[in-house]
């Protein structure tokens, strides 16, 4: 275990010096601050940040995650000559990426909110949901990125696959949901729809956050069904489990590949 921590600490130091990470943090910071400057109150800033978090976070996690693992190839080979277990190594690598990404997200979005807390009321619950969703998405999509990078030897193919995964989660999936809704309009769709939404981490994050806002009121009967389900502790548990599963399952598969991989 201490090996994992050692790897993680090294990674942290390495990644903090990375220019792209800095850029990512600055973009988040500038965006959030900009939204405040444009005259938004806390609630509206969060609502505007919603799509940023849902689009940018997975994209960054996926591209950065795959590139990172490809670039770490030599480092991994070097470390594997040392007495370091593969499990510890994998945990260190993943933690060393997901953790700083989460911290940057928390800082980049959280800081402007802290600065403006006196000027406008902050809907704390929504902010927690936003940041929590962002962190869970970071964890999930870095894990998926690792799985992809380990699956494809070729860097271009790996990078391409990462983009395809992002495209599916962010766009294609919702198109499919719309298709389901229009095709099966004569049937009660609330439960199937709920299942579909639970299956996509991006949709789940969006719905969780939207239900916290006034816009939920206009989501009609379906919205009411969602709110009733996700408002209960069972619903919250299921939602969290679904989001966490997106981290755990790819990690587990990734680890299996990592163990068998012949570097």
């Amino acid at each position: 275990m201490s090996n994992a921590v050692k790897v993680l600490r090294y990674q942290l130091r390495d990644i903090v010096r990375n220019r792209w990470m800095l850029a990512y943090g600055l973009v988040l910071l500038a965006l959030t601050e900009g939204l405040f400057r444009l005259g938004g109150d806390g609630g509206r800033v969060i609502l505007s940040l919603l799509n940023v978090v849902l689009i940018l976070v997975p994209l960054v996690a996926l591209t950065f995650g795959t590139l990172y693992l490809y670039n770490a190839r030599e480092f991994i080979e070097l470390l594997l000559t040392q007495p370091v277990g593969r499990g510890a190594m994998f945990a260190g690598l993943w933690g060393g990426l997901a953790l700083p990404l989460c911290l940057i997200l928390l800082g980049g979005i959280g800081l402007p909110f802290l600065l403006h807390v006196a000027a406008s009321p902050i809907p704390t619950r929504s902010l927690v949901v936003l940041l929590g969703t962002g962190c869970l998405l970071t964890a999930a999509f870095t894990a998926i990125a690792f799985l992809i990078a380990l699956r494809f030897e070729d860097r271009a193919r790996g990078f391409g696959s990462a983009l395809v995964v992002w495209l599916i989660c962010a766009v294609v999936y919702d198109g499919m949901v719309l298709l389901v809704v229009t095709t099966f309009r004569d049937y009660p769709l609330e439960t199937p729809l709920l299942t579909l939404i639970l299956l996509n981490p991006l949709d789940l994050g969006r719905v969780l956050l939207l239900l916290d806002f006034d816009v939920a009121a206009l989501m009609g009967y379906t919205g009411a069904v969602f709110k009733r389900f996700l408002g209960t502790s069972l619903g919250i548990g299921v939602g969290l489990a679904a989001l966490s599963a997106w981290t755990i399952v790819p990690l587990w598969f990734g680890l299996r590949r990592f163990r068998r991989r012949d570097f």
């Binding site: 849902l54 689009i55 816009v215 009121a217 206009l218």
Partner: protein, 414 residues
């Protein structure tokens, strides 16, 4: 006019010198309002001093003025408190309390039955089944009353002000809350409803049917559970009202159904799930209203005939306008749309390219309600972007040929 008729008319008036003032007070010579009404003659004034009065139903059969002094409380129970059957009765400054609900009759704190010219002013009604109930009344004024219901359930509360088969009323400056409907009109004509506040009622803020030629101005309808509904009426004028915070599935700030030749002007619809809903309306003019921060700004069904939306302001609504069919005949002109992406090269204050306010996604949602779950998703943003790139995707059933670049639109005084 013959002199005899003049004499006859004069003798009908109570001689001014003989009009008396009677005092009701607990423990006084007239301990109840009922006793005072027995003793009074037409034209008298009855002053009710402060105290709590528990009497059987009080019936006002004479033309009297009843004034409360120090907010006297008239208590009800299992019956109505006060029933007015005589013309020209004035009721001012009394407190009415506790009329229990009934499944059999519509008990009210104050009932006006077949009377003309009554004036009910500055009273307080608390925890009553119905508040003020007007049946076949005419020429009555209901002014500045505060009516607060028990806010239990829809079936256990009546309406704050209920008017049935009446005409020529003035209802002004009342505050109505916690009842089933704040204002309820059925078969009521030529009535003016001004500057009332109707809020937190269990069903509609205002609800009227078959009530022609009525006008509603300067009222506020806030956070009523089912918004407001106006139906099956002709010649309705709604002006300068505020419809706020009506939220929930198929709940609208103002629901208009089968209205004919009516005007909806200068109102504010804000923070509602749906701002304005029009179905089966004929020749309705919607002008100079503001639709702000609603889920849907305006929903106009395709069966609306000759409806015009002019010089309205649509800002920060999730969907500005929605409809359910392709053959909509509703006309839009000179409205301000915050989503309008066009330009104004000739600088006349109006955009040079038409604006189609019904978004593709809004149209889809109108037909498939569950699709709303995709609201604010990246996919829907892409749909919007696709509409901009390929305008053929935008449903063209409604179009503002001359969208205003600013609000208020240039050239009007408001």
């Amino acid at each position: 006019m013959s002199p005899w008729l003049l004499v006859a008319l004069w003798s009908l008036q109570a001689p001014a010198g003989t009009s008396r003032t009677l005092h009701v007070s607990p423990g006084g010579p007239l301990p109840t309002l009922t006793a005072a009404l027995e003793a009074a003659a037409a034209g008298d004034t009855i002053v009710v001093r402060s105290g709590v009065y528990q009497e059987p139903e009080i019936v006002v059969r004479k033309r009297v003025t009843i004034l409360g002094e120090g907010a006297p409380v008239l208590r009800g129970g299992d019956h109505q408190i006060l029933r007015i059957v005589a013309d020209s009765v004035t009721l001012r400054g009394l407190v009415f309390r506790d009329v229990s609900p009934s499944a059999v009759d519509d008990r009210a704190a104050i009932r006006v039955e077949g009377a003309r010219g009554c004036r009910i002013e500055d009273n307080t009604v608390v925890n009553s089944y119905f508040g003020i109930y007007l049946a076949k009344a005419a020429g009555c004024a209901i002014l500045g009353n505060r009516i607060t219901g028990p806010a239990t359930t829809e079936s256990l509360t009546g309406n704050a002000i209920h008017s049935w088969s009446s005409e020529d009323l003035v209802i002004e400056g009342n505050v109505l809350r916690g009842h089933r409907d704040g204002l309820y009109f059925e078969f009521t004509t030529d009535t003016k409803v001004r500057d009332n506040v109707s809020t937190a009622n269990l069903r509609y803020g205002i609800h009227f049917m078959f009530s022609h030629g009525c006008s509603y101005t300067g009222n506020r309808f806030i956070a009523n559970r089912a918004g407001s509904a106006v139906m099956y009426s002709r010649g309705v004028v709604m002006e300068g009202n505020r419809f706020l915070e009506s939220r929930g599935a198929s709940i609208y700030g103002l629901l208009g159904k089968d209205l004919v030749d009516s005007r909806i002007t200068g109102n504010l619809f804000a923070s509602n799930t749906g701002g304005l809903y029009l179905e089966g309306v004929i020749r309705v003019e919607v002008r100079g209203n503001e639709f702000m921060s609603n889920g849907w700004g305006a929903v106009v069904m395709a069966d609306a005939e000759g409806t015009r939306f002019e010089r309205n302001r649509f800002q920060e609504n999730s969907f500005d306008v929605s409809t359910n069919g392709a053959n909509a005949t509703t006309r839009f002109a000179e409205n301000y749309w915050d989503r309008y992406p066009g330009y104004d090269l000739d600088g006349d204050g109006y955009g040079d390219v038409p604006f189609a306010p019904v978004r593709l996604f809004a149209f889809i949602v109108q037909q498939h309600d569950p699709a709303l779950i995709l609201q604010r998703s990246f996919f829907v943003s892409l749909l919007d972007a696709a509409e901009r790139v390929a305008p053929i995707l935008t449903p063209r059933m409604m179009e503002d040929a001359r969208p205003s670049m600013a609000w208020p639109a240039p050239g009007i005084g408001q």
